[in-house]
């Protein structure tokens, strides 16, 4: 063993221990692979734990008319037909089984009167479709998966950050990272790797995302040579907290609207009537977010620059039972009793539709041996994700990635890890300690966030995006001068240096794609191109690394087979 770093070897290495990573681990293990799973936080603290509203699956427990076809149609329509149709189909077909599986592993969902899993309404879903546990569905899901995985015997490497993927002759050979606890380096050798690292929200200041969401997976994949797709589609959730300052951006679950919450502006108008009279508050997220943003911009916002969201017309007991954590969150953090008065809410950066480009069936990226599932992968959600479709995504494609990675690993011999790559990664990681340039990572982060918020936000326009590109380039320059004091022992400032590298990469990709897409579609709204463009509706933006530079191309979306086309055509008239 090398004295500078420790080494671990697995058939399949999974980076990320949220819903997608854990589900993949369980499956790969079930297929006989030896599996290691790495995560930046403690086990069980990944973003999945925060998901509130529910898991979308057409189980038809509440609305008997629901089936996968409707779910498929809703997903495609929500994604403005930019989705990979095959992913949307697999997702809709397999989600119910994946949910049942959770139950068989001990999860306890809320029940219907006849003893089945209860489902609730959510934005953009034609039927009551979200299987839930009050407003802590994600907690139930991650605990169930975690307990299952631990029982099956996965090796968990907690509080370990991967900073580089290692490759050998065009295929994956392992990953390099450091232990957050003591700063020591670690190398994982693996035949295949599943990325399940989640999203990128930390590049914006107002976000529902935690410190972990720095886009590491996408940056890692990009650096290693895989393609990214649809990076312009960043979902701003319409309802984040806006006051007090410390909690700005914290999520107010869509379940509030699902349970009957009403949006009003400061004049008391139910303004959704003007934006989507048919679906009102339960319109898709992109529409509601833009509506609130516009109300505020036009001077009809609340005192702290948001809209009022009111659920107090429902019985207090009902609210406390169905939305317990919202009730406590507002009472304790904002001094607002939501059973008595309205909440103040505004858009918050929430979810990344884009990400690593993968094959629908296997979740394989364009780099052999590298797979991606969950929020880090692109394709399923197209231009806009429906609430609840993420948790089901994690289960469906987490499982598929696990199978595929295990199968792939069976066919491979151990690849060798290249010590030059490891040396480079080490040098890069340690560089901030050796500089005394006084470039503080926290300040750099704040500046990046400011740039993204003001120039690459909900509404975008050519000159803003151009100027954002310039600023990002300047920030990248500054990132070369980051310096840090203290030791390698659990040093958050140092950790942020590594995270910043990823954030800068994905920020650049988002901005490039946003600049290229000269139309408005789903979460991507261009003030200078406010309409759909049929040509853009048939192509994806693809980011890849060419000669050390980020390059962008367009690629046509896969053609949907006739019978599926019929499904969405038929529905188009009825629904949207």
């Amino acid at each position: 063993m090398n004295d500078k770093f420790e080494t671990h070897e697995h058939d399949v290495l999974i980076i990320g221990a949220g819903g997608a990573g854990l589900r993949a681990a369980i499956e790969a293990l079930g297929h006989g692979a030896s599996v290691g799973i790495v995560c930046k936080s403690l086990l069980g603290k990944a973003h999945t734990v925060m998901a509130e509203g529910g898991i979308a699956a057409a189980m038809a427990n509440v609305d008997a008319a629901d089936d996968w076809r409707t779910h498929f149609g809703d997903t495609m329509r929500g994604g403005k037909f930019l989705n990979n149709w095959r992913m949307a189909q697999i997702h809709a077909q397999e989600a119910p089984d994946r949910v049942r599986e959770l139950e068989q592993w001990g999860a306890l969902f809320d029940r219907t009167d006849d003893g089945r899993i209860l489902q609730r309404a959510f934005g953009g879903h034609s039927f009551k479709r979200l299987c839930h546990v009050g407003d802590r569905t994600g907690l139930e899901m991650i605990r169930t998966l975690q307990d299952r995985g631990v029982q099956m015997g996965i090796d968990v490497y907690m509080e370990c950050t991967i900073t580089r993927l290692l490759s050998d002759a065009g295929r994956i050979s392992g990953a390099f990272g450091y232990w957050r606890e003591n700063g020591r380096f670690v190398v994982f050798k693996a035949k295949s790797i599943v990325l399940a690292t989640g999203g990128i929200g930390k590049a914006w200041p107002i976000t529902s995302n935690s410190w972990e969401y720095t886009g590491d997976g996408m940056a890692l994949a990009y650096e290693a040579g895989a393609e990214l797709m649809d990076m312009e589609f960043v979902q701003f959730h319409p309802t984040g907290m806006v006051w007090p300052p410390g909690v700005q951006g914290l999520l107010v679950t869509e379940a509030v609207r699902g349970e009957g919450g009403i949006l009003r502006n400061k004049n008391g108008e139910r303004f959704m009537e003007r934006y989507d009279p048919k679906r009102m508050e339960l319109s898709t997220r992109d529409v509601v977010a833009r509506a609130i943003y516009t109300e505020v911009k036009e001077g009809r916002g609340t005192e702290h620059g948001g809209a009022f969201l009111d659920i107090s017309h429902k019985p207090a007991e009902y609210v406390k039972r169905k939305l317990p954590s919202m009730y406590h969150q507002f009472l304790e953090l904002a001094d607002v009793d939501i059973t008595k008065g309205p909440m103040e809410v505004g858009p918050t950066c929430h979810y990344m539709m884009g990400g690593v480009r993968v094959e629908a069936e296997t979740a394989a990226s364009t780099l052999p041996g590298l797979f991606a599932a969950g929020e880090v992968a692109a394709g399923l959600h197209g231009a806009n994700r429906l609430g609840g479709n993420s948790l089901s995504d994690l289960l469906v494609f987490g499982r598929r990635a696990g199978v595929a990675a295990a199968e792939y690993a069976k066919k491979q011999s151990v690849a060798s890890v290249d010590s030059a790559q490891i040396d480079a990664a080490e040098r890069e990681a340690l560089a901030p300690f050796e500089r005394s340039t006084n470039e503080n990572p926290y300040m750099l982060h704040a500046d990046l966030q400011q740039t993204m918020q003001s120039l690459v936000g909900i509404f975008r326009i050519e000159q803003d995006l151009q100027s954002a590109l310039g600023k990002i380039a300047a920030l990248k320059e500054r990132a070369q001068r980051l310096s840090i004091s203290g030791s390698r022992m659990f040093n958050p400032g140092w950790h942020l240096c590594a995270d910043l590298k990823s954030m800068l990469t994905v920020s650049e990709a988002v901005t490039l794609c946003a600049l290229a897409r000269k139309e408005s579609r789903g979460a991507h709204s261009r003030l200078d191109f406010p309409k759909f463009d049929p040509i853009w509706g048939k192509q994806n933006n693809i980011i890849s690394r060419r000669g050390g530079e980020m390059s962008l191309q367009q690629r046509p979306t896969p053609e949907m087979p006739q019978e599926l086309q019929k499904l969405v055509d038929g529905e188009k008239g009825a629904g949207a």
């Binding site: 006849d114 007090p244 410390g246 909690v247 954590s325 904002a334 990572p441 300040m443 203290g486 659990f490």
Partner: protein, 243 residues
Amino acid sequence: MPNVTLRIFRGDRESGKTADYEIPLTPGMVVLDALHYVQKYQAADLAVRWNCKAGKCGSCSAEVNGRPRLTCKTRMDSLPQDKPITILPMKSFPVIKDLVTDVSWNYKVNKKIPAFQPRPGTDWKMWQKDVDRVQEFRKCIECFLCQNVCHVLRDHDKHEEFGGPRFFVRIAGLEMHPLDGVSRTALLKKELGLGLCNITKCCTEVCPEEIHITNNAIIPLKERVVDEFYDPVLRLVRKIRGA
């Protein structure tokens, strides 16, 4: 708004002492915000764990003015501001650095607990009235504050013989699962030291999820252990039935 002083433990496994940081208060500020302020402007290497900032993930546990709390849910305006606010790492676990402690012991205990196993032949129907009770236990966010405050661990260091309230909650959730078919009472008595708990309820007092740990999990489990091991009449009944 006024400034306040934070008195934060700085140190590692071997040694350490508190250091004072003065920070400006903002409306609605929580202790975690204050720590982040210190990180950003005064001590970039201050080690703190956090994720959700909304009391959902259980990462940010520490002891604020001697009380085990989630720092993301502790409002600064709920604390006296004329004196320094002391923030120490959880006492029952070894310090890694500053406010970050080594909680790996908890994960080891967790491994000893047999997972959910359905009774054979179930049709997977469950009713809310059966599920309600268990859902309370499933609310646990694994902040380990109960483990930290429990005197069996905190003062008597019984980490080897005792599982701690968090895992009694977990086991209660499994034992009372309407479809579970395994018994963990022997484990509770023999390996996880349920008897060491003297039901003094500090775990319940600190639980941010307001789980009635003692009344709804521990005491019912103690009763189940009595059923199995200490009740001579029930033993006899089982013998007769079994024979």
